[in-house]
């Protein structure tokens, strides 16, 4: 898996963001190179929620940050509204950033502890001089209302006075302040309780409809992803395994890794027998990834071909693509 290829790139007018051959490389303390994202291509279609799923270390967060140019990719291109962000100057990037916003995993630490809630939500409006002061103030109220917070009660309080779920609502309000086109959510509910998690997922859906957002939703939890996504991309060690619509991908995963991920989800039913398909071990070190398909060392179907040749993404019908030499039926 963990293959390369661009078979899934379709182009067209409704492509909001076009990513091609994106490579992000880090250097470790021992001065080794690690390719956290290793040649990923992607078209983000207007109005979709693309989920990116994988284990820790698969490069899903790095991908999100590289798209935003928060980390500098080594090579490739990220085209947004006709400009290649990787070739843009700092000022050009700054002008584009309001249209691409991000929400982070830890809602408490991603809010300034010294700011009041109104200041947190107002800051982007001030930086970009959006409207008069009174217009900004009413925008703050509108945003807080739409994320389910009562402006009068929360405006003058600080982030630490709120629960994790409420902080995540504040983060969402801040991210929406500048009317972005793309919202990148990096594990937005992983730090939350299951009951609060459902509230935030529903809120994100509402915000998407209300503000006409296109979303990238990064998560390690396939069950969470199922609820919110319109397309799912499964990553492993910096490569794409499989990409497709959630209905097919969950019912009939073609990649052995996707299938292993699905069977590892705990099922709240004691009668459900745990599938024998649990994969062993940890992902191999990204400093020295396996040759060919990167998943082959843990894959039940691996053959010599998998070690020799890297599988490319190919279409399996219905807009679903898999990078595997021996896909599941």
């Amino acid at each position: 898996m963990a293959g390369s290829g661009k078979a899934h790139i379709q182009g067209g007018e409704d492509v909001v963001l076009h990513v091609e051959d994106l490579v992000v490389e880090y250097r470790t303390a021992g001065n080794q190179k690690v390719q956290a994202v290793s040649g990923i291509s992607l078209d983000l279609i207007k109005g979709e929620t693309l989920a990116i799923v994988g284990e820790s270390g698969c490069g899903k967060s790095t991908f999100g940050k590289a798209v935003m140019q928060i980390v500098a990719p080594k090579s490739g291109s990220v085209v947004f509204q006709g400009s290649d962000l990787m070739k843009s100057t700092k000022e050009e990037l700054r002008q584009l950033r309001p249209k691409m916003q991000m929400i982070f995993q830890d809602p408490v630490s991603s809010l300034d502890p010294r700011f009041t809630v109104s200041k947190i939500v107002k800051e982007p409006l001030e930086i970009w001089s959006r409207g008069s002061d009174s217009e900004q103030e009413s925008k703050i109220d509108e945003l807080l209302n739409s994320v389910g917070l009562e402006p009068a009660l929360v405006r003058e309080r600080h982030a630490y006075e709120f629960s994790g779920g409420q902080c995540q609502r504040i983060s969402i309000a801040r991210a929406l302040a500048l009317d972005p086109e793309i919202l990148i959510c990096d594990e937005p509910v992983s730090a939350l309780d299951v009951s609060v998690q459902a509230q935030i997922l529903n809120l994100l859906q509402d915000m998407k409809d209300q503000y006409g957002l296109t979303m990238i939703f990064i998560s390690h939890d396939l069950a969470v992803v199922k609820a919110v996504s319109t397309r799912v991309m499964v990553m492993y060690l910096g490569k794409v395994c499989e990409i497709g619509n959630p209905t097919d991908l969950y019912k009939n995963p073609r990649h052995h890794y996707t299938s292993a991920l699905i069977s590892a989800i705990p099922v709240p039913d004691p009668e459900f027998s745990i599938s024998a398909q649990i994969i062993d071990g940890d992902p191999p070190s990204p400093t020295n990834p396996p040759s060919g398909c990167r998943f082959r060392t843990r894959c039940p179907a691996a053959t010599e071909l998998c070690a020799a040749e890297e599988p490319q993404l190919r279409e399996m019908g219905g807009g679903n693509y898999v990078a595997c030499h021996h896909p599941r039926d």
Partner: protein, 325 residues
């Protein structure tokens, strides 16, 4: 079967700046040898405080405890600190949520595993090392001799949690407490670790208390489940009974809010509106009544007691689901 652990009327309050915080309210349960109990609840429901109080780990002066914990006919709450210490490791051991902060970052894995057998079981250095190797094999770590010499930061999260488990079972405890043991781990590793804990429990005939917020995690790995809300046990039943006949509206709401892969895409998930009640305020009526869609006037003013509905199924609700009154 003889009883291994009996917790009766355990109550814990913390003296805080905001007033007395009632974390655990009059909790009772028991555990038989080899049995596994899941304690489930949201953050702030008191599940962690309950497990710490049961082990005698709440030693801070701000914690006000009452009630009794009897382990193998010994009243734990009356023991001196040194007597209590002798129970840790040999009778009760714990695996924590975050294996990075729970392990000592500057000591080698081998020394950390050998510490228990050296101190508690009086093993020689050589025997303790052998024991450490044996334990690493039991938790399915490959090349245990190599891993002994490593430091925690050289291991992955899953490996560290295996080491934590090895340390916990090193002195053959009767009860293993596992407090959110897989919450910090990936889903694939979570499945491995849960499988490992279950198989060790059977192999060593240990009892297990598995504390988690995830009903999915306890479903496949426990004999019985206690659901906690606002410091109280609100429902307790054998695992199969609980899942097939949910009585408590809170448990139902918790189950419904779990995202499932069988859900349709793009649907709205059922949510539990509102939040846990403030634990520093006195509670009138049922703690869940403010968020319960079935609540009546009675629920807001009278406190329901834990009642036995048959089949070992206890619940704290005036209007239990599926029961005609």
């Amino acid at each position: 079967m003889s009883e291994l652990l009996r917790v009766s009327n355990l109550d814990v309050r913390f003296d805080t700046a905001r007033g007395l915080l009632h974390a655990v309210k009059d909790v009772s349960f028991n555990l038989e040898p080899g049995e596994s109990l899941g304690i489930v609840g949201e953050s702030g429901s008191g599940k962690t405080v309950l497990s710490r109080a049961t082990m005698g780990l709440l030693t801070m002066s701000t914690a006000k405890k009452s009630g009794s914990v009897v382990l193998n006919d010994v009243e734990i709450t009356k023991l001196s600190r040194s007597e209590l210490r002798s129970k840790w490791g040999t009778e009760m051991a714990i695996v924590f949520q975050d294996p990075m902060t729970a392990l000592n970052p500057v000591r080698r894995i081998g020394d950390q595993i050998a510490e228990g057998p050296r101190v508690r079981l009086g093993m020689s250095k050589k025997d303790a090392k052998q024991r450490a190797i044996e334990l690493l094999k039991m938790v399915q770590i490959a090349e245990p001799e190599k891993v002994l010499k490593k430091f925690p930061l050289q291991l992955s999260g899953g490996m560290r949690q295996r080491v934590m488990i090895a340390i916990a079972i090193a002195c053959n405890p009767k009860i293993l407490f596992a407090d959110e043991p897989t919450t910090a781990l990936d889903v694939t590793v979570q499945a491995q670790i849960l499988g490992l804990i279950s198989s060790l429990r059977k192999q060593l005939n240990m009892s297990l208390i598995l504390v988690t917020h995830d009903l999915g995690v306890v479903a496949g790995h426990t004999d019985k489940i206690a659901v906690m809300y606002a410091g109280e046990i609100v429902e307790m039943a054998p695992t199969k009974e609980l899942f097939s006949n949910v009585r408590m509206p809170y448990t139902e709401a918790l189950l419904n809010s779990i995202p499932r892969i069988t859900n349709q895409s793009g649907i709205r998930l059922p949510v539990i509106e509102g939040r846990l009640p403030d634990p520093t305020l006195p509670q009138n009526g049922c703690g869940f009544s403010a968020r319960c869609k079935y609540a009546t006037e009675k629920c807001h003013t009278e406190r329901p007691q834990l009642v036995d509905g048959g089949n070992g199924h206890m619940y704290r609700c005036f209007f239990p689901l599926g029961v005609n009154k």
